[in-house]
């Protein structure tokens, strides 16, 4: 669990700089950027995007503290005119993509995508999907809400294709500027609505929303998403995790929440307090089982990291494996998609 720094100012991360040259933007940092928008720069980007599309600039630019607040504002009867998302975002993107594709050929375009957008696609898509789901949950799953969500330009969460295409011909400069300086935005004939970025974003190393003691994603107006290793959980549920007991865990009827409770409480602590005996032990680790009423058993391998921590200790970690697993080696082998007798590392660190 790590807090992402508020500004995208850190050195470009691996995978984002290879093909973008001196004007390189840390698009991986843009996806995860938090903190107040640079409103002047974002508004300039919006106006540039309208002009690049051959449209008059919007009469007014409104700010919203979160994407939820933006949708609520749009549903509140604001006179917007028609959506110009197609002209401002989709057409320039398609024509720039076609131009770069024609210049570089299919193989060259694939290589460009691999060097730039490919690894950003999934983290950005996952965040955007969760934000949409959170808005629908809070404002209602109605056609009006869905339609307003379709009008959104995802800005920082469009980073994958911006990383591939922006900064080449200038056609996407406005879109790129908004993505770097604010959150989602909504372009209409008469007005544009721009959102603040999240105030907080907590993810695990796999890029999933992850926080046990508060919202994993939170906007300045309180719109927030709670998740544990990517699994959405209710806010009240997290608040109760501090007082967990083995009995409380066993009494939880929702199997997914019970899994989160066990992980949060700690498999080792739960096993120690319930007096469990290992099922099996060998050179790869230790196999444990937690029987649960009305659910399949939790079977885990306990594995010791082969590289020492800075303090000289060796970190132990736990991986859940299929309930039919019989030996520790079979369990560890399964985590790498292998049969027990096929798993034989010559060298481990």
């Amino acid at each position: 669990m790590t807090t992402v720094p508020p500004a995208p100012a850190r050195t470009a991360a691996p995978g984002t700089t290879a093909a973008t040259g001196p004007r390189a933007v840390d698009w991986r940092g843009v996806v995860a950027a938090t903190g107040p928008a640079d409103r002047a720069a974002a508004e300039a980007g919006v106006r540039l995007a309208y002009r690049a599309a051959g449209l008059p600039e919007p009469g007014r630019v409104l700010w919203a503290a979160s994407p939820r607040a933006a949708v609520a504002l749009l549903l509140g009867g604001e006179v917007t005119g028609r959506s110009v998302r197609e002209q401002v975002r989709t057409r320039p993107w398609e024509s720039e993509r076609a131009r770069v594709h024609a210049e570089s050929g299919p193989g060259g375009y694939a290589a460009l995508w691999a060097a730039t957008g490919a690894r950003l696609w999934e983290p950005a898509r996952a965040l955007a999907d969760r934000i949409r789901a959170g808005i629908v949950e809070e404002l209602g799953d109605t056609p009006d809400v869905r339609l307003r969500l379709l009008d959104a330009v995802l800005g920082q969460h469009d980073a994958a294709w911006l990383a591939a295409l922006a900064g080449r011909g200038g056609a996407l400069d406005g879109l790129a500027a908004v993505a770097r300086h604010a959150g989602w935005w909504w372009p209409y004939e008469d007005i544009a609505v721009i959102c603040e970025r999240p105030a907080e974003l907590h993810r695990d190393e796999a890029g999933r929303l992850d926080r046990g003691d508060g919202p994993a994603l939170a906007f300045p107006d309180g719109f927030a998403l709670h998740a544990w290793r990517g699994m959405p959980v209710p806010a009240e549920f997290l608040a109760g995790l501090g007082d967990l007991t083995p009995e409380g865990i066993r009494a939880e009827e929702n199997a997914e929440l019970r899994r989160v409770m066990l992980e949060f409480y700690g498999y080792d602590r739960y096993l120690a307090e319930s007096g469990a005996e290992p099922l099996h032990r060998d050179g790869t680790g230790v196999l444990w089982r937690i029987p649960l009423d009305g659910d399949e058993d939790v079977v885990m391998v306990e594995v010791v990291n082969s590289t020492a921590e800075p303090d000289g200790t060796f970190r132990t970690y736990w991986l859940r494996v299929p309930p039919a697993t019989r030996t520790a080696r079979e369990g560890v082998a399964w985590t790498f998609g292998l049969a027990a007798d096929a798993y034989a590392p010559l060298h481990e660190t």
Partner: protein, 108 residues
């Protein structure tokens, strides 16, 4: 086979490697000139090969990725000791975890 944290590197016989993969350009290197086998989203820590070689992606959530080291090489990571590798082809397998009804990737 070789293991570095949540990555397993399994030798593959040259004859088993599809001919089309031997011709593919492979993955681009990162800003530090390395082949990145797996990247931590938050820390930016990576299982990476700094020297000569090629990484070919075969798609799918867990890969496989195929690594070709014509002269051998080594795999580095910010939190793990270096793994030296002989020359040849390797399948790179990301560790996974069982979740009832699903499977999720491990990230250490």
């Amino acid at each position: 086979m070789y293991r570095q944290g949540d990555i397993l590197i399994v030798p593959v016989a040259d004859a088993e490697v599809p001919a089309r993969l031997a011709e593919e350009a492979g993955e681009p290197r990162d800003g530090r000139g390395r082949l990145v086998l797996a990247l931590g989203e938050v820390t930016g820590h990576a299982h990476a090969v700094p020297g000569p070689g090629r990484l070919v992606r075969e798609g799918g959530e867990f890969g496989p990725q195929l690594l070709h080291l014509p002269q051998g090489g080594r795999v580095v990571h910010e939190e793990h000791a270096v793994i030296p590798l002989p020359k040849g082809w390797f399948r790179v397998v990301r560790q996974r975890e069982y979740v009832p009804g699903a499977v999720r990737v491990v990230a250490d």
